[in-house]
């Protein structure tokens, strides 16, 4: 026993030392960050001004965003011209090449940042659950997840390299300027990447060695560290795009003013951080769920089908858990965009890019429709859930009405003849669905209905046995009913009040939806304690349609991510860095909607083809697994992918 404890202590110390070594470079570099990143080197394009460096050091400038004064510590943003010096090029549109490299890196980056968060949650569920068989299943699932992400991790790094080379070779002036401002941040980013890789490898390869007792908790703690590092990495990368959209910490000429925190903490940084974390999680869940769906559809045995049905369900549940708050985070981001620059907000939502937002609304609707459809299909694998199935048609109606309101464009696509027949740009009936008040109502109705579907799913094969079940049911029914009334009423009321008050109405609407989500699911959980089981959940006995719904969900996530990234980037119009550094390349125009849609589709297709390859690699090491599992636990559902 004493020997065991000694071993544990040594393991902890060794792990601690490893973590310390990994994080040491980051800690030392923070000094540089605290001192403002030191002196910025002159950008390559402005080397001619190098002799004025000393003079510039004492010069003061005014922060374009924070309005504070600071000592000029960097060169002005280069004024580029259309030529091979600032924009070296192949006989092809450089912007499209960069778009492709960036998007692929982002897809993989999101995936590998999201999956460890899932692993952390699932591993934790495995540790705390009392049912030993379930604990093992959860642990195996978490391991399967991290294994998938490991190959994707290498690809992320490769794609990151490709992205940097693309920047350096095709946009040297711009990248030179950006790296002159973010020099210390970029170094810390690289060091964090080392720390992330090291932690990930220890976490993955130490899985078997640290599977019990205290060591398991340490293993679990490592997943927390892994995710903290991953999140900081993402936030640092977000600071670059935040700076490009809403620069701060520089003067009007783009000269760095010595405060690196101002450069990082721009107007849109935090909304972007929150939106991206949630988005990554939803996306990652979607991809893993699609993997499970693919394995389910290609499964040869009932055991495999059962396992992948369950895996898909867990991944889907996690994806949806993060999908639900995503529109609200997006709403906050847009609000901050409007507050930062009105013209940017209008370009996005009412102007040049507004058509893309209609496509986005459609994609969001598809996500929720697919989710609901999956939950309804999942009722099919529970005996006793038939009683709910006949009411699904009413949920379809409510959901679809909310969806139609949500996707109705304010300005419709029409021929001039139709325009004349309609007598104006706006339709007097449907035009009302095109403004924010109605759309807020629409999306909240959709989300509340999704919550209702989930409550039904939870109840599928159970009959509450609590003495107050009648009261509970009436209370829940009334609560949902009043929630719908409140949401719809506020949507109508929004037309009769000033815009600033109307914007505020989204708060009670969201509060209503979230009350349904948290309060009703919690109450439902309490009501179902000690509930009578009407029948078992027959994992694997779910329709193939449900799996196609999952694949659709994942594809819609991918497509939407590509779309929103494009919109966010395009809103700068002809600026590399908004109002600071102008894009003078021949590609400083906004693409047509059709071209953008094709490009996004190509990126989505490429990602899915490449991730299928990653999935296939994941199956290579697991070929013998079911046999081993059967040998160890006869009669139990074997878990595939026992490669470790």
């Amino acid at each position: 026993m004493g020997r065991q404890n000694g071993k544990k202590i040594w393991s902890i110390m060794a792990l601690g030392a490893m973590m310390a070594i990994l994080l040491l470079p980051v800690a030392t570099s923070l000094n540089a960050l605290a001192s403002g990143g030191g002196e910025a080197p002159p950008a390559p394009a402005v080397k001619a001004e190098g002799d004025k460096k000393d003079e510039a050091k004492v010069e003061k400038g005014r922060d374009v965003y924070y309005k504070t004064e600071g000592i000029v510590a960097g060169a002005p943003a280069p004024k580029t011209t259309d030529g091979t010096k600032d924009y070296p090029r192949y006989n092809f549109e450089s912007r499209v090449l960069l778009w492709f490299a960036n998007q692929q890196h982002l897809y993989y980056g999101s995936f590998v940042l999201a999956v460890p968060i899932f692993c952390m949650i699932i591993e934790f569920m495995g540790v705390v659950t009392k049912d030993k068989a379930m604990a093992k299943k959860y642990d195996q699932l978490a391991y399967d997840f991290i294994k998938i992400s490991l190959t994707a991790y290498s690809l992320t790094a490769i794609l990151g390299g490709i992205l940097i080379f693309t920047f350096l070779t095709l946009y040297p002036a711009f990248f030179g300027y950006l790296s002159s401002i973010f020099r210390p941040v970029m170094h810390i980013y690289a060091l964090m990447f080392v720390a992330e890789s090291g932690t990930l490898y220890i976490y993955y390869y130490g899985w078997d060695k640290m599977k019990e007792g205290l060591l398991k908790w340490i293993h679990l703690s490592m997943s927390v560290i892994l995710n903290v590092i991953g999140t900081v990495l993402m936030m640092l990368a977000n600071s670059w795009i935040g700076f490009m959209m809403s620069p701060a910490g520089v003067d009007e000429q783009g000269r760095f003013l010595g405060n690196i925190w101002h450069v990082i903490h721009t107007a849109l940084w935090n909304p972007l951080n929150v939106h991206r974390i949630l988005g990554n999680m939803a996306f990652g869940g979607g991809v893993v769920a699609a993997y499970a769906a693919y394995r389910f559809l290609s499964a040869k045995t009932d055991e495999e089908r059962a396992h992948y049905d369950w895996m898909g369900y867990i991944a889907m549940a996690l994806a949806v858990a993060f999908l639900i708050p995503l529109p609200f985070a997006g709403y906050w981001l847009m609000r901050e965009v409007y507050a930062y620059r009105q013209q940017m907000g209008i370009t996005l939502m009412g102007g040049l890019l507004a058509w893309l937002f209609i496509i986005q609304a459609t994609m969001i609707g598809i996500l929720f429709l697919s989710t609901n459809y999956y939950l309804w299909q999942a009722l099919g694998r529970m005996r006793g859930a038939e009683k709910y199935q006949r009411y699904i048609k009413y949920l379809v109606f409510v959901l679809v009405v909310g969806f139609l309101v949500f996707i109705t464009p304010h300005t419709m696509v029409m021929t001039p003849a139709e325009l004349k027949a309609m007598g104006g740009q706006q339709h007097p009936v449907l035009g009302n669905y095109g403004v924010m008040s109605a759309k807020n109502g629409g999306i909240n109705v959709i989300i509340t209905t999704t919550v209702l579907s989930f409550v039904w799913y939870m109840r599928g094969n159970k009959e509450p046995m609590v003495p107050w079940k009648k009261f509970g049911n009436i209370f829940m029914g009334t609560f949902f009913g009043l929630a719908y009334v409140n949401i719809i009423w506020l949507a109508i009321y929004g037309y009769y009040i000033p815009a600033n008050v109307r914007v505020g109405l989204s708060v009670p609407q969201v509060a209503t939806t979230l009350s349904c989500l948290f309060f009703m699911t919690a109450l439902n959980g309490v009501m179902l304690k000690g509930a009578k089981q009407m029948g078992p959940i027959e994992w694997g006995k779910i329709s193939a349609r449900s799996q196609y719904a999952i694949i659709m969900l994942a594809t819609a996530f991918t497509w939407m991510m590509g779309l929103m990234g494009y919109i966010r980037s395009s809103v700068r119009l002809f600026w590399h860095v908004n109002e600071i550094m102008r894009d003078n390349s021949p590609w400083a125009y906004t693409h047509t909607v059709g071209f953008a849609a094709n490009m996004i589709s190509f990126n989505v297709l490429f990602f899915w083809v490449s991730i299928l390859f990653v999935f296939w690699l994941g199956t290579l090491g697991a070929k013998k697994a079911p046999v081993e599992a059967k040998a160890h636990a006869p009669g139990r559902v074997p878990e595939p992918a026992h490669g470790h």
Partner: protein
């Protein structure tokens, strides 16, 4: 349950007959008319009534042993929605929106029909039967489909290429028009720079002469049917002072200059409106001035179509740059009048 379903069935039958009657002229076309101001909710409400009615009808027919097959229920519902959108809603809905609604309806019907295995089997059975063609009758139907589908596709393609309309003129192509241009950070009018984010209408003032939006908001016309003036808030009252007097002056400028195009009801249907394509902006629509800051309107009026930003070009706007004809004060007063008359509040960011 049966009583509720019977009542729903009766409602369904009456609603369907009424709809058909109105469309085919058996009863007056506006027997149940879409009420201005309530139309969006009325449409959803009507659809909900139909859904409830059809459910009741289906239930009753089922209990009488005359159940409508699932397949035909689904097809029938899609057909009904397309028919409703085409014939009930006026003015006509553009094809692109009907196509969108129709597609979503088909998805909805699929979700409904495939929500459980039993229904799904019933729904797809007729399709499978036709494809299997086990009987001569089904074989005939399958053959007809094989001929009809390519012919229909050919017909649609042909139709889409044939020049439409009088004199066989080819229709202008569809234009994805950007309605709200992105405004600049500031605009210069008559030598003075106005920052759009922070400038205020100097005539939106309370009796003390201070900018006060809450005060002016209380005096605008009531935003309901008929758009009634508030009691004791008549700008054309000779004694009207301050804000209301400014509204009156703005109104005079509007009727001297703007109403020819934007209409005396500010709905974009003035005398000359239909000479333009697109017709002028409709200020009574909740998506135009109600969504925008007062300074945005000030910028648009001052600079007109010529001053629209580069992105989103071409704009298809013949709005003159009114700074060439009106003073800054006159432009602010016109803007004030437009908000007063439509009953909308300008957007603010606080």
């Amino acid at each position: 349950m049966k009583a509720i379903m019977s009542a729903a069935a009766v409602v369904g039958v009456i609603a369907s007959l009424l709809l058909l009657g109105m469309i085919f002229g058996v009863v007056k076309a506006d027997t149940v008319h879409l009420v201005e101001g309530y139309m969006p909710m009325q449409m959803i409400f009507e659809l909900a009534i139909f859904v409830a009615g059809f459910t009741g009808l289906s239930y009753m027919l089922n209990s009488m042993g005359m159940a409508i097959p699932r397949f035909w229920q689904g097809i029938g519902f899609v057909a009904f929605i397309l028919f409703y959108l085409k014939s009930r809603v006026y003015p006509p809905i553009p094809f692109s929106v009907r196509a969108m609604y129709g597609t979503v309806t088909m998805v909805a019907v699929f979700m409904w029909m495939s929500s459980n295995e039993e229904d799904w089997k019933k729904f797809r059975q007729p399709i499978l039967n036709v494809m299997d063609a086990a009987t001569p009758k089904l074989k005939l139907i399958r053959t007809l489909f094989l001929i009809a589908i390519p012919v229909a596709l050919w017909g649609f393609s042909y139709q889409s290429f044939v020049p439409q309309g009088a004199g066989a003129d080819v229709d202008e192509p569809i234009e994805l028009r950007t309605v709200h241009p992105a405004p600049p950070a500031s605009t210069k009018v008559h030598g003075k720079t106005f920052v759009l984010q922070t400038s205020q209408n100097p005539y939106r003032v309370n009796p003390e002469g201070k900018y006060d939006q809450e005060y002016s908001n209380k005096l605008i016309v009531e935003q309901a049917m008929g758009r009634l003036m508030q009691a004791n808030a008549n700008p054309w009252d000779e004694k009207a002072e301050g804000y209301l007097k400014n509204v009156r002056e703005g109104g005079e400028i509007f009727f001297q200059n703007c109403h020819f195009c934007h209409g005396d009801n500010l709905n974009g249907r003035g005398l000359h409106a239909f000479a333009f394509n697109p017709i002028p902006a409709n200020f009574t629509d909740p998506g135009t001035i109600a969504q925008l800051q007062e300074t945005f309107i000030f910028w648009r009026v001052s600079k007109g179509g010529l001053g629209l930003p580069r992105e989103g070009f071409p704009w298809a706007s013949v709005m003159p740059p009114w700074e060439q004809h009106l003073t800054t004060d006159e432009i602010w007063k016109v803007v004030l009048f437009e908000y007063w008359h439509t009953g909308y509040y300008p957007r603010t960011w606080d």
